[in-house]
């Protein structure tokens, strides 16, 4: 153990403290939480979790979240793949402007779009469905997926394409059979990022849903207002939202650093 590894260790401890506090609170009773300061649960209880897993408005919030996140990831990456290929291989009229225009959508503040989105998705009859949230999240996820995939694709030498065409492959067949397997890591990373940003975004998800497709994290605000201040329940719901993220990170752990650099190191 060298001296300088103290820095990452301290940093990780700092990261874990609020998480520890949230998790401990989920095992306390509301009385204990409000009654005073206890560093760990005195009366260990699973009541909060029991309530979440037996009340359908709670656990359906989970299902709704997963549903729109998965839809969004599939749509974003599927649409971004051919576009990223075009940007990485060809020069065409307005390509640079198009690329920057796409990126501007990653920069658009969700607060600006919330109200127009509400009107737009109500008008097309998608309000309060997972599709509304999934499609609205493509606003920032498609540009991001294009950016990441373009980075990974630019790392693949062009000779691969040329050899395949000489061998008589048509473009679609080459793309599916040879190119996609070659950049599989890049696709994994792009999926991870789409999942991540769709999973954490709450402003649009909340605005575009009412009852049927309300995401789990948005339900937490409800507990704070309707049933008093049930902190234990709030903490349990919060703790449960950490799990999908942790699982997904575990799968991409070896590519995560390169992915954050958008595939261009």
């Amino acid at each position: 153990m060298r001296k300088r590894s103290i820095v990452p260790i301290l940093y990780i401890v700092f990261l874990m403290l609020p998480i520890y506090w949230l998790v401990t609170m989920s095992f306390k009773t509301t009385n204990e939480i409000l009654g005073g300061f206890t560093p760990w649960p005195q009366n260990f209880t699973l009541d909060s979790y029991r309530k979440i897993f037996t009340d359908s408005t709670w656990y359906m919030g989970y299902v709704a979240s997963i549903e729109y996140v998965v839809l969004n990831t599939i749509v974003s990456v599927a649409v971004a793949l051919p576009a990223a290929y075009a940007f990485s291989r060809y020069r065409f009229l307005g390509d640079k402007h198009m690329f920057f225009w796409l990126l501007t959508n990653r920069m658009a503040p969700a607060a600006v779009f919330a109200l127009p989105f509400y009107q737009l998705y109500s008008a097309v009859g998608l309000f309060d469905t997972p599709w509304a949230v999934a499609l609205s999240h493509t606003l920032f996820n498609i540009p991001l997926a294009v950016w990441i995939l373009e980075g990974f694709m630019s790392g693949v030498p062009k000779e691969l394409d040329e050899t395949a065409y000489v061998d008589g492959y048509s473009f679609p067949r080459f793309f599916v059979k040879i190119f996609i397997p070659t950049i599989a890591a890049g696709i994994g990373v792009a999926c991870f990022f789409c999942f991540m940003f769709s999973w954490v975004e709450m402003l649009l998800a909340k605005t575009l849903t009412a009852v049927a497709a309300k995401p789990i994290a948005a339900l937490m605000t409800k507990t704070a207002s309707t049933s008093g201040y049930e902190l234990g329940l709030l903490a349990a719901a919060g703790t449960l939202t950490l799990i999908p993220g942790a699982v997904v990170i575990y799968f991409v752990r070896n590519y995560i650093a390169k992915g954050f650099a958008l595939g261009r190191v």
Binding site: Y11, A110, L115, A261
Partner: protein, 287 residues
């Protein structure tokens, strides 16, 4: 890579164009519409020209929110970028601990933003939260729901907690990509640790650092959910950043005209600054 000219490539981009156009152009036009019209309810609109823009640009309130927003973004950039870089430099390059470090560090990035807000809300509560209680026990008079300074401190700390890992991961990716020969050459020349950092690592990290600054700038300028859940813009309006103010105007008071004008000014500011960053980045790449 030298690219060939091929106009048919547009066909490959078309699906992306359609999706993003549906999501970006229609809502943006709605906002533009609001910003130049006067409404009397009942969906009756009349032309009002640039009235709302003048009003927004001259209003004290907008300037105050913009000032707070700039102060916030500047603060977190000044803290997160050097801190992230320092942590990445101190991280082990190989071995079993690398994965563990990366997974633990990435965890805050995967937490829904309102959960981040709630988590810090309960963590910093002066009576029952670990941090609030701890600070008070150490003799600080800490109460983020009453004192603006404490609210700022909590929000900045929350953002550092939430996003420094992004900078760490980017810098780490850049550092691992530096070939070992560079370090060996530096060793032969007897270069100091500072010289290695200044003349090898920093130039090689220029690219990832630009991405980090660009992403952190954009995202911190748009911050809404975390702050809304943590402080609701208070106490008073001491932590009312642009997005929060915009939401108050648009949905709280339903002043669509000013909200539209404000949205456009807001978006243009982000666009302009991001364009500057982007051009810088692309110029680096071209070299």
């Amino acid at each position: 890579m030298n690219k060939t000219v091929n106009q048919k490539a547009w066909l490959l981009v078309l699906p992306v164009f359609l999706f993003v156009a549906f999501n970006a152009i229609i809502p943006l036009m709605t906002v533009v519409n609001y910003s130049v019209q006067e409404t009397f309810g009942n969906n009756i609109f009349s032309w009002s020209g640039v009235q709302w823009f003048q009003e927004v640009l001259q209003s004290e309130r907008f300037r105050a929110s913009l000032g707070r927003q700039i102060a916030f973004t500047a603060t977190i950039l000044v803290i997160e970028i050097p801190l992230g870089l320092a942590i990445a430099l101190a991280m082990p390059r190989k071995g079993p601990w690398v994965s563990v470090c990366l997974v633990l560090m990435a965890l805050p990035l995967l937490i829904p933003w309102n959960v981040v807000g709630s988590m810090w809300n309960v963590f910093a509560l002066p009576e029952i939260g670990l941090m609030g209680r701890g600070l008070n026990a150490l003799g600080f008079d800490f109460n983020y729901t009453r004192q603006p300074g404490d609210a700022w401190f909590t929000i900045v700390l929350m953002d550092v907690w939430h996003w420094t890992s992004l900078v760490v991961l980017l810098c780490y990716a850049g550092l691992v990509a530096i070939p070992n020969d560079y370090y060996q050459a530096a060793k032969i020349d007897g270069a100091s640790a500072w010289a290695v950092f200044r003349f090898i690592q920093l130039p090689k990290l220029k690219r990832v650092l630009t991405i980090a600054i660009l992403l952190r700038f954009m995202d911190s300028f748009m911050i809404y959910t975390e702050v809304q859940v943590l402080t609701g813009g208070g106490p008073g309006s001491s932590t009312t950043f642009l997005s929060i103010d915009l939401f108050k105007v648009a949905l709280g008071q339903f002043d669509l005209g000013p909200a539209g004008a404000m949205s456009i000014v807001y978006f243009l500011i982000i666009l302009l600054l991001s364009w500057v960053f982007y051009t810088l980045m692309m110029r680096n790449e071209a070299k």
